[in-house]
Symmetry: C2
Subunit: 322 residues, 2 copies
DNA sequence: TTGTATGCGTTATCAA
DNA sequence: TTGATAACGCATACAA
């Protein structure tokens, strides 16, 4: 096991004081070029790395971002791709991602408390925000830096930084895609009203049809399962729909199996790729990068937009159904 | 923002020395019961938590486990469920999960180096181990604690701790399931030979058929895509197979779409659940818990088995195909 | 059983 | 431009 190389070792090797080494690394501009080179050479030669723990003791900054990893939901799991992007972007910005779990919002807040006491993460990234989310107010009250992936639907004070994907624009594009193919009766299968995300996606579809003066017949599912999608699709197609836009890939999959009309899903999950389902793809890596950027800006006092709204893109696939 | 509560605050509040507080937390048995209670009450009242950074400075232990999060592969992503289980088990054992990314094994080793210098994780959890994996030898040479999820196939010295799922037992169970249903010509669609995991899964199938004195006709796919699964299924069914066992859900999905015979997949991904595909389910949460357990044992010097082999279970689903 | 002194590696402050 | 000193919070050896 390699011995730990400290700043004192580097200082000795380069023939300077510890402080100068620290300056070379943290405020290079105040060190004479020649000294700087010599110190950097020693750093390289000895393989020196700052100790995160010692730095944190002194500065109070951990360079850690805390992120909750959620139990896998019923198939529509998009989170792992977001998380990968987040880890990568964080590393580039000099941060590391620390994972935690929680079963509900209350216990999540308890975890914040623990985490803050022990590891003192510099910031939090929250996902799955929803109506009356107590987590954001808890963090905001304490002045803790955080960013959410997802808008604070329905909250009058969307004052905190967030990154989101424009669901309405996505379903609007999907609807236009079907209009361009000649369809005039385009149905929508959604979630029951009240979830901000679902309502937003439905709006994109209905507004697009309204703009063309076409009727908008939709159906809701309670849990967004494939089985519910199946019966909703039957219903809509019986009523005359010749194409369907869906709130999720799960629902779309059911619709696809139940009918022969064109179906467009949302999220572009592996399921969609596997069965040839056209679907709306969220720019997750980009969203993750924006989250890190907003957080890093807040942490460094740098100016940055408080909100980022990204556009999904339609991944058109060859429908293998007869 | 709450002020930081230190061990000195607790000591003052409880009317004892800092050392006594430390003892209460780290060696409770040597402190008088009454004092212990008083100190614990103060800890509770002030909301004191040990500072991970300060503790790490003193003890050299970070209570951090480093785990690589990989780019999502082509659909079969099982890793996020494993990761969730890992985070949960780690928390229970007093560890946190630190994420990192790497594009290949070489850069992963470079990341070990960085991570070790900066955050000094106590241990590493590796996934996707393969033939001639340089990462395990790198870690082993340096005496760094690690555990792999996946056996070191083909390595003569499987000397390091690992946790794995018994793929052969899984495909054997799947094959028996089909035998019990009366099938006598059961095909297998696998990956090309050489991947330990794929070979293992094929073995379970072929051995089970051999034990029954039945012929074993299999086909390989190069990349394990659904499209390849489709043509392999055509081929096997034309040759007389009346049922198929597959190395993965991706391949199984293709087979399912191409033929009408019963198909069994592997991994029980969301795709399988969505399309009603019977599949072998890996006990990922349990695997993750075992990984933490093995690592925690190694870190504390506690005795523990070096290898854990878990059994997958067959999730039988109603096939919706006509 | 409890208290005192010390050092872990770093950086901020201030002096040279 | 560089260097000396102190301090972050904790845990250990040792003394009381």
């Amino acid at each position: 096991m390699a011995e730990k190389v400290t700043i004192a070792d580097v200082a000795r090797d380069a023939g300077v004081s510890r402080q100068t080494v620290s300056n070379v690394l943290n405020s290079p501009e105040i060190v004479k070029e020649e000294t700087r080179q010599r110190v950097l050479a020693s750093v390289e030669a000895l393989g020196y790395r700052v100790s995160a723990a010692a730095r944190q003791m002194r500065t109070g900054r951990s360079r850690l971002l805390a992120v909750r990893i959620e139990p896998t939901q019923d198939g529509v799991n998009v989170f792992d791709r977001f998380l990968h992007g987040l880890t990568e972007s964080a590393a580039r910005a000099g941060y590391r991602v620390l994972l935690y779990t929680a079963t509900d919002d209350r216990s999540e807040i308890a975890t914040y408390d623990e985490l803050l006491g022990e590891f003192e993460p510099d910031g939090f990234v929250l996902t799955s925000t929803h109506h009356g989310d107590v987590r954001t107010s808890w963090l905001a009250e304490r002045g803790l830096p955080f960013v959410t992936f997802g808008r604070p639907w329905g909250a009058p004070d969307g004052g905190h930084p967030w990154v989101d994907v424009d669901g309405a624009a996505g379903t609007a594009a999907a609807t236009r895609h079907l209009l361009d193919a000649g369809h005039r009766r385009i149905g929508f299968i959604g979630w029951q009203p009240g979830s901000g995300v679902g309502d937003d996606r439905r709006d994109g579809w209905s507004r697009t049809l309204a703009a063309s003066g076409l009727p908008a017949d939709g159906a809701d599912t309670e849990n967004g399962t494939a089985a519910e999608g199946e019966s909703a699709a039957h219903e809509l197609v019986s009523a005359g729909a010749t194409a369907l836009v869906c709130v999720s890939d799960s629902v779309a999959l059911g619709a696809m199996q139940a009918t022969a009309v064109p179906v467009i899903g949302f999220d572009d999950t592996p399921v969609a790729a596997a069965v040839g389902l056209t679907s709306l793809s969220q720019p997750l890596a980009e969203a993750a990068a924006s989250c890190v950027d907003l957080l890093a800006a807040a942490l460094s006092g740098r100016e940055a937009p408080k909100h980022v709204l990204l556009q999904p893109s339609l991944t058109v696939r060859k429908d293998p159904r007869p």
